[in-house]
Symmetry: C2
DNA sequence: ATGAAAGCGCTAACAT
DNA sequence: ATGTTAGCGCTTTCAT
């Protein structure tokens, strides 16, 4: 592996000039610039990240922390952030909190403190005060995605508004008996997303003067399986059969869709279903949903940390994240008019 | 941020001793060891990755390269690899090849050459000779996952055997008209997985003396949508309706399952379906499948690179990767006996 | 078992 | 525009 001295010698200049020519910082005559580039190419030279980082205090690397990886939302956020970061010369190192508490603490204590990264993007993390402290102690820009991050700017949709929109769509269609599949408050983590969505659902109902019926709420995990089970259970109780469902996620909604199908309940004739997310599978299932765009959120977070690293000390005010109601074939007016 | 000197001063020893005490290399008396640890804790000291890396030539970081992120298999592999790596003190930096060719080349030229990583794990990559050259030029341990990687050891299932197993299961049940949903050879990348699986399908047929009917092969993308479309098309041709389908992936199989449902074709009474993968959704859909275990593969790859980094210069012979036939409710004997 | 000291390969003043 | 030089914060011989 050639070092900067080899390049300097071949180009007939000093180390400093090579450094300047290759980094673009400082002034170098076009001619020398070209000669240095050429020499570097010829030698297959690449700067040592460690040496450069040690000398400059910058690593050109940002840490992305996720609670776990195997979920559509997280991978999409990472993909969006990484594309943006890579395009600007940053590498991405991934920290996965999944697993034991020990490892979890280690991520904050060891890895993030090691000056491995210039900034961190924290995705959908519900952190303890302890962890927040460690995160802040790193002294680097931090931005959240997917929910608020105390003390740091963050990119996230307004979950209340999103759920309100989904519910209003149903109300506008004429539905009045609307069930909600939402996260079980008991097992809730991750930014209170579930309870915010539930709030939005109730707000829409209230605004329309429709009483909130607790019997119409069904605690459900954010999975197809759980949505399926909830929907089946719902139809087992003939006194509380809704004409429509708003699910807190598309996966739940798809589960409900499948349950309806198995039960012979026609969607949307007998039952309307709306999800939240804009999951890749929603289109296939003809699911009406409120789409959020996780890749864009990742991209926005990446832009924010880069701005902050560029010395824009002021915590950037992040533009609100858009979401759209995407109407497909799982919602329609109720068959039996509900006055 | 305290540095090693601060710790040394507080503990009343030299920098060298701090380094030894904290890294575990070299000998330090238990007493000093404890004092140093204590001092480090008190100061919130963490070694600088850059300084340590520069001095030692090791980064405690491994690169994981994937073609893209948003797919079950890749995220599972990463999760498995990362858990293992993290447990041994390594960080993981993620390189995503998705996107333009320029960025793709940049990953190899810039990032991997920068001595950012001590080793690389390449997941399901079909690399050009050029890229393979660059990868090897890094001079670090490299192991593949999900398919062969010319010149490097790799962790992968035997796709031919897997498909043979899936197909044999159907044959053993009494099926003789077995369709195959497989990757379109035209658009194939990624290790020839599709054609290997097709080969396995044909091998099983041959072994049973069943002629291979090209009409029974349906080029299909590795998605639910595409599996759905293929299955629908299949039933549009009454002359070539199979009693069973072996799909090259679980997602295809689930699509076919859904298509059958929509068509009123009962599974498994009228049609048996077997997938390949062990996808998370397979259980929900009652899909019989041949499960591979991507997390385990990721873990195995991580173990292999760690062994190689520990100076085990000999390229490790990797243990073959297991797979299992998981029989659920999508396969049964054919209704009309097919002699 | 511990300390002294020489780098690791680069960047960033500071000169010129 | 370019060269000189002093570190960046560690690890690692080499002594002791």
């Amino acid at each position: 592996m050639p070092d900067i001295g080899d390049v300097a010698r071949l180009a007939g200049v000093s180390n400093a000039t090579v450094s300047r020519a290759l980094s673009g910082r400082g002034s170098v005559s076009p001619r020398t610039q070209e000669r240095v580039r050429e020499a570097a190419r010829e030698l297959g030279y690449a700067v040592s990240a460690n040496a450069s980082g040690l000398a400059s205090g910058k690593t050109a690397n940002v840490g992305v922390v996720v609670p776990f990886l195997s979920h559509w939302f997280y991978t999409a956020v990472i993909e969006g952030a990484q594309a943006e970061l890579t395009a600007h010369g940053y590498d991405v190192t991934l920290y996965n909190l999944m697993g034991s508490g020990d490892e979890r603490r280690g991520v904050f204590e060891r890895s993030l403190a090691r000056k491995r990264v210039d900034a961190v993007i924290a995705v959908s993390l519900e952190l303890t005060d302890d962890e927040l402290g460690l995160l802040r102690a790193v002294g680097k820009p931090v931005v959240g995605v997917g929910g608020p991050l105390p003390g740091s700017p963050s990119v996230a949709i307004d979950d209340v508004a999103v759920a309100r929109l989904a519910t209003s769509h149903l109300i506008a269609l004429g539905h009045r008996t609307i069930a909600h599949l939402g996260g079980d408050p008991a097992t809730e983590r991750d930014f209170h997303v579930p309870s915010n969505r539930r709030q939005g659902y109730e707000a829409a109902l209230n605004a329309a003067g429709i009483p909130v019926d607790p019997q119409l709420f069904h605690p459900t995990d954010f999975t197809i399986e759980s949505g399926y089970a909830s929907a089946k259970r719902m139809f087992a109780d003939p006194d509380h059969v809704p004409t429509a469902i708003v699910a807190a996620s598309d996966e739940m909604a798809i589960g409900a869709l499948l349950a309806a199908r198995d039960l012979g309940v026609r969607v949307p004739q007998d039952l309307s279903i709306v999800g939240i997310d804009g999951h890749g599978l929603a289109e296939f299932f003809g699911l009406t949903t409120v789409a959020q765009y996780p890749e864009r959120q990742g991209k926005a977070a990446a832009e924010a940390v880069m701005r902050m690293m560029d010395g824009d000390a002021s915590e950037p005010t992040l533009a609100p994240v858009e979401f759209d109601l995407v109407v497909r074939s799982s919602t329609a007016r109720p068959a039996r008019s509900e006055r």
